[in-house]
Symmetry: C3
Subunit: 109 residues, 3 copies
């Protein structure tokens, strides 16, 4: 048994979830926040057998797309604080960040 943890955009969350469910996978959804942009995103937990992990990853990749987002440049850590003027920075936010973790024991009651 494996646990797939995928961080995706809120806008792609429902589409990925619907496709995973349609293909027979159970998913638990967490409302999370990206640390850098401080914007809400979605983390999906999908427990599945080792043989199905690649299918889950392919579904996530197919339904997620990267996009550009604006962030404010972080405050510098040097002594320039008094002269610092935050400026907008464009970052490429990936469609999905996926971690696969081994599950030693799995039980359903």
């Amino acid at each position: 048994m494996k646990l797939v943890l995928a961080i995706v955009h809120d806008e792609d969350g429902n589409r990925v979830l619907g496709e995973l469910n349609k293909k027979g996978f159970s998913v638990t959804k967490l409302a999370t926040t990206g640390g850098f942009l401080r914007a809400g995103n979605t983390t999906l937990l999908v427990g599945t057998s080792k043989e199905h992990v690649q299918t889950v990853i392919d579904i996530i990749k197919a339904k997620c797309s990267s996009r550009k987002q604006i962030a404010t440049s972080p405050t510098p850590s040097t002594g320039a604080a008094g002269l610092y003027v935050p400026y907008p920075v464009e970052v490429e936010v990936g469609g999905a960040t996926i971690f696969v973790v081994d599950v030693e024991k799995f039980e359903k009651v």
Copy 2:
């Protein structure tokens, strides 16, 4: 060290948590959503030594019970979209879905 991740019904969450705490276990609670029913549920994280994992699982099983819930049938993926009328479907929702993951390093400060 092991990390027990248990997805339970909101209604059972407090009862399980109280029993785990009473028996000396520390728990962190996450408010999550079931992907299929799109209803809120509770995910509990319990970090504990290998010897205590079975006790944690037994407590969760003892305090959780499965129940029937109504879901709307998912939209078909075939070309029947124009003729599709959603109908209520009854699903058996388990009392708890439990994953046990190995912890390589554990620190408390």
Copy 3:
């Protein structure tokens, strides 16, 4: 690849997050609840290579501090229910509780 899961106080969350980001780490933040005190806390997920795990742990330790919090004593499980009067209990709440989990597969799209 490893996944660091750190449960910290809400008040320290932003400071830890800012320092991790400044040092080049990506973090996903979860709003969680401590099971014992039933108070909100913050769980940070940091996926990073094996070589950087200690740096992540050191940053979390440096930016988090333990503090005392008041909890109501739990209701006894013995027959004393009729005579039971809850009393305030002071507990030491650690600065951070850190779990490091192995990641078998990591993908970004």
